[in-house]
Amino acid sequence: MSNQKNMDYDVMVVGAGTAGMEASLSLGDMGFKVLLVEKNPSIGGRTILLSKVFPTLDCASCISTPKMASSAHHPNITLMTYSEVDAVTKNADGSFHVRMHKKPTYVDQTTCTGCGQCESVCTVPIPDEYNYNMIARRAAHIPFPQAVPKKAVISRGGQAPCMHTCPAGVKPSGFVSLVRAGKYEEGFKLHLADAPLVGSLSRACYAPCEGECTRDEMEGSVNIRAIKRFMVDWYYDRHPEPDYGPVETQLDSKVAIIGSGPGGLTAAFHLAKQGHQVTVFEAEPHAGGMLRHGMPAYRMPNALLDRDIKNITALGVEIKTNAKVESIAALKQQGYDAVFVGVGNQNPRIIPITGNDLTDVTDCMDFLKETNVGEQLPDIAGKDFVVLGGGNVALDVARAAVRMGTKSVSIVCLEEQDKMPAHEFEVREAIEEGVKLHTGVSTKRIYNDDAGKSKLEVLKVDAINFDEKGRMTGFSTAEGTEQSIDADVVVMAVGLSPSTLPFESELHLNGNKTILTDKKTLQTSDPMVFAGGDAVLGPSIIVEAMGQGRKAAFYIDRMLKGEDLDVPFESDLPMADKEAIVGCSGSCSCIPPTAIREHDPIKRIQSFEPYEETMTESEARDSANRCLGCGECSQCQECVNVCPGDCIDFNMRTDHLEMTVGSVIVSTGYEILDPAGKELMGYGTYPNVISGPQMDRLLAPTRPYNGVLRPSDGKEPENIAIVLCNGSRDHTVCNPLCCRIGCMYSAKHAQLVMGALPLADVTIYYIDLRAFGKGYDEFYEQSKGMGVQYTKGKVARIDELEDGNLKVHYEDMEGEGGLREAEHDLVVLTVGFLPNLESLKLYKGGEVETDAHAYIREPDAIAQPGRTNIDGLFAAGTVIGARDIPDTVLHACASSAQAAGYITKLRNA
């Protein structure tokens, strides 16, 4: 989605912190057209995050907000926030060509009023970078109260793997985060909006989402299906009937759905939501398709399915049972404008076995239907029961049979146990329930033994042949390996084929009798007819069928409305990077998945009662809490539901731009040194060792805890140590430079702490106290006068004591000398600057020269401040080296004068 625009500016300023704003305002005042680009959602840089500023103790907001507001409102400045410059190259005429992109905010920035309602309902917490990760912010967020522009942005790092995987389009990340937030009803409704058979899925879904769950790569997947089960039980308990009716706007168009399985019901639901008149035709006496007929009640209780179906009928969908459709033409004649064929895959395959008249041989569908909806259970008590086949259906048959008082139940299949098509857990549970496996064998014949007992004779399989797609094409058996199995009843579960025969003359079918459809739209050879589910896919799982129903409904709706079908069904972000998520989840505690309580096998086989228990509320919320929040925004839709301006737009995508500018000012600022690299200081290990920027946040008016508290126990510290030069003037981290601000901002911290906590003692450990600017030494003297203890000495190590206090080991240089120890209850590590390496990557027309420490180099530092080795590309502020706010402002102004000179020359050329 490339959107090319041509814009022209005299200057592009990259980075809208203190330097960038200052440079832009200076140039704007001179009458130059300025484009100010900022990668974050708000301008203001790091200054706006500070508490107060030295030496005047002005509030950081007071000195930043006027510049921020002026930058936003200046007639000559165009602001592009949440945007990044990809490449700058120089044109022959001295101007610059710029490629850049605007990142999607997922909130319409023109209509968002910054009301913050999305933030207050958002269910996804993310470490708040604006508070240096001391607290959480929300995925939908306004960066901070003074943000400019004050607009919401939704953090999205890709689609959560669970959601990405679900064929039905369910948003597991969404309802899991809603359950975590205690919003069960909202969670249910989120699920309902995509897939109406919520209860059925909570019992019978094979949950491919859990297999993709990122946490599965750690201690085990989040129990997504079990959480859903809790959620749906909670909701159905309180809502035995749906709380909605047909949609208001009803259309004239009539749609017939053939088959009331998961595909058909889902299609009906989505079409009815669009206002179409939907009728579902079901050949059997009961709606539900395979959910009803194929699944034994211990997995899929009928009452739950009935409640699920109400979700669809509440919309006005009519389900006609005992209504087998034999011809599509007939439906058209009845006035239907579109048809969805979802007849499923219920024709059992029968294999010929010698002697099949000697015992009771039946097919799996007949057996399961009789079991699930028959007036009586099949009469198999006391019998030896054999199922042929190794798929999930065979397992359902076998496990149903053990619940009906059989003498024995055996599964006979060609594959060895580890190759059986059935899910591994089904096989395991079946064995627990007493089912015997006869794997890797083929049936030879049925015979009566001398005592008149029916037996199934089987042979060992010695080879199975597969085609290139992995489908079995044949097998061979080893003679002489016969064995016999008692077999009063034999049920064949060796495959099902599509129930598409009635439509053979009306629709194009594939060789395997599935319906031929357009892959994208699911339209059949008859443009009015769409198809989905097992009738198209062959044997599939419930969510796949539901996904097809939903997709077909989307295109049927478009067709009925006369809209183009050549549009993508869903276009979401690529899947979030699991490796990266695991990488940064290293510090999260190890919590294994909640164990699902199940009845023991002896009790299980007594009845068809579901043997799996629903989680308790606290189990469900704890389980939901294990979600790693892959992709940040969970798509729980809470923001969408609450936004008064309908501003949320998840379809927003990156906007690419190209333009020509006369000159470029790079003011991308600096990085903050991570003190975790100084392992002996305990940052990141001891909770009460915090960094200087974190201390600033504790003191800021928009502070996270509304007070200066130490992190481990929330106690007000009484004896604070501030340790200077962590990673500055320090060859052990390859940074010999002085950070230039640490001495001063720690003096500021000390003074502010003394204001906030009048009883607290503050000790500053320093090497040289560098208070060199206008009014700085006076400020330092003022700190001393207020009672701050200045100790000249390098701190070597910090240890944690039992109560969370810290022992500081230092060399006392000023007093009597020697190694000393001191106890403090909070330690602040004053950290310095690192260069922002991103700033070096912008220019692609050559190399921007740097000094030995990767700051941009000014070739003539004395006479040409702001000039780089690239004529016309200037540097402003901390990109050339650490400096404080006044020096940054001066340097940025100087760069703007340089740029003004350059553009003037360019114009006059």
Binding site: S26, D58, V148
Partner: protein, 579 residues
């Protein structure tokens, strides 16, 4: 009392700066029923963009015609809110700023109840003023695209070139007979070893080559009149010539003086004790081994913080309390330079804190690596320089050796002296620029407006504002150029309409106002039989000195009319319901 006005009142928490001491909600509630008030609210940060937008919405929806914002000092945000008022659609002069922070919360941190009561009174006064406000129009005057740069040191020279680059003509004035300032004879300088003399020569050549730069040496400004965008100045050039110029802006880059130690201060006056500038005068000119008075120097000491970071004492009644910033860099850089010269030289650097900030730390490291010895002396026990029988010696308490007293025999002692404010009486009397506590020229705001001054159109640059290194001085010079460009490049400037206004019916021309006006903004006018005072609006600063002296009450200031001030006093003095 019906005023017919629709006034909005907004009280700022200032993120706790105000609300920690003044109960802002109570203030908003208390003034809600004042005459004319239709809305009274409070905001966490009224200056934030979001709050501004909300106020704009209120202005439009409630059709406000007057605005009172009670927040910080008008120095910080008056212009912010004026702009906001205009964007909302009301005249910016119908906005009244109440300073609830500097004049209330910060002043009464120990009395929350009293602070809240005072806050209510102040806001009431603001409302009374807003109720009588009238729309005013700014005075737009054309600007002259020429800049006067005062001082032709490196900062001034560089500023002149940058102005010229931007198409602005420059008059460059230097008091000395030779341009180049303090460093014109210097050798290698921090950070990149460029020679001071080379830098100056290069800049001078370039300045001389520019058609739109006129350099006057042996010259100084003796008179100044006019106003921002259109100043008229008179220069004395040479013995007796004078030149009249018309410029739109001025950049003051007059530099600094070196601290001159008193006799006996760190041994100053003894043979072999020199200041760093004095040292440079001979050392920078030498090649080869360092010599003093023809003799090779084998051992020398540098004593830092001479004339800087002083404490008040009997011996030093007027201390320089500030750090002079450049000296540690200069001293350590000199150490490296000396280590690069031939000869056996032992250097001892006696310091309090080495303040080689930022990248300059590398110079300090280099100096130590190359062999210079650094010893830290206690603030209260400075080294003693004396001339004993064995010659010159320095006695220092070395803190890093556990406070051991060390006696260093030396051939030379260099006192690393700081910068002090330039003595420049003529200029200061002409410009009337205020100075900071440390005596250097005062900027408008150290962070927000570091090169602007209280005199609109007059900018300060380089070490005239505070001690700076060469690179920093040039940076601030270019910053001043940038602000001059912002002022002059659009061709006009809008002046405050808050100026004096004469009621010609009442005026009898007694010339009292003329005598009271320090800006020469009053002229005599009238032909039709009656002479009255006339205010030259572009010269008037709205200072108001003329108002109380008028015997007929015929003159008042727009935006501060007698009626407004009286109403404010009345509102202020009404009894406040106990908070």
């Amino acid at each position: 009392m019906a005023t017919g006005r629709r006034i909005g009142v907004f009280i700022c928490h200032c993120g706790g700066n105000i609300s920690d001491y003044v109960e802002v909600a109570k203030v908003a509630e208390a003034v809600a029923s004042e005459p004319g008030v239709v809305v009274s609210k409070n905001h966490m940060f009224t200056c934030s963009d979001a709050a501004q937008q909300e106020m704009i919405d209120d202005i439009r929806e409630l059709k406000l015609d007057g605005l009172v914002i009670a927040s910080c000092s008008p120095k910080l945000h008056m212009f912010t809110f004026r702009g906001m008022a205009e964007r909302g659609g009301i005249n910016q002069y119908q906005y009244v700023h109440v300073n609830l922070r500097e004049q209330c919360s910060w002043a009464h941190t120990n009395d929350k109840i009293g602070a809240t009561e005072k806050g209510i009174a102040l806001v009431r006064a603001g409302i009374a003023k807003a109720a009588l406000s009238t729309p005013l129009t700014a005075l737009r005057v054309d600007t002259i695209p020429k800049v006067l740069v005062i001082g032709a040191g490196v900062s001034g020279l560089r500023a002149a070139l940058a102005c010229s680059d931007m198409g602005l003509s420059v008059f460059l004035v230097e008091k000395q007979k030779q341009a180049g300032g303090a460093v014109k004879n210097w050798g290698k300088m921090a950070p990149d070893n460029q020679r001071g003399s080379d830098i100056v020569q290069k800049l001078l050549d370039e300045v001389n080559a520019r058609e739109n730069i006129m350099l006057y040496t042996d010259a100084e400004m003796v008179q100044k009149s006019g106003y921002i965008g259109d100043f008229k100045v008179t220069l004395r050039v040479g013995e007796s010539d004078s030149v009249e110029l018309n410029v739109g802006a001025m950049i003051v880059a007059t530099g600094y003086d070196n601290y001159q130690p008193a006799a006996g201060e760190f041994g100053y006056g003894l043979d072999g004790v020199v200041t760093l500038p004095e040292f440079r005068d001979f050392a920078d000119q030498q090649e080869g081994e360092l010599t003093y008075n023809g003799k090779p120097v084998k051992n020398m000491a540098f004593i830092y913080c001479v004339g800087s970071r002083q404490k008040k004492s009997k011996a030093c009644p007027e201390p320089n309390e500030y750090c002079s910033r450049y000296c540690c860099n200069a001293g350590t850089h000199m150490a490296v330079t000396l280590e690069g010269r031939p000869g056996e030289l032992n250097q001892y650097h006696l310091y309090r804190d080495i303040r080689t900030y930022g990248h300059n730390e590398l110079i300090y490291e280099d100096a130590r690596r190359k062999g210079a010895v650094f010893m830290r002396y206690p603030d209260a026990e400075p080294p003693v320089v004396s001339n004993g029988s064995d010659g010159l010696g320095v006695l220092v308490k070395d803190q890093l050796m556990g406070g051991e007293l060390v006696e260093i025999p030396v051939d030379l002692v260099v006192l690393v002296t700081g910068m002090v404010p330039k003595k420049n009486e003529t200029l200061m009397n002409t410009l009337k620029l205020p100075v900071s506590k440390d005596g250097f020229l005062n900027e408008l705001h150290i962070k927000l407006r570091p090169v602007e001054t209280v005199i609109d159109g007059v900018f300060i640059a380089g070490s005239a504002q505070s001690p700076k290194t060469m690179a920093e001085s040039v940076g601030s010079a270019l910053a001043a150029v940038s602000k001059s460009g912002g002022l002059l490049m659009k061709g006009y400037v809008d002046l405050e309409p808050l100026v004096a206004k004469v009621d010609t019916d009442k005026c009898i021309w007694c010339d009292e106002c003329l005598k009271a006006c320090p800006y020469g903004a009053i002229e005599r006018t009238g032909g039709d039989g009656k002479e009255v005072a006339l205010v030259v609006k572009s010269l008037c600063k709205g200072e108001g000195g003329c108002v109380p002296v008028c015997p007929r009450d015929a003159i008042e200031i727009e935006g501060y009319t007698d009626r407004q001030i009286t109403a404010m006093i009345d509102a202020c003095s009404r009894e406040v319901v106990k908070a």
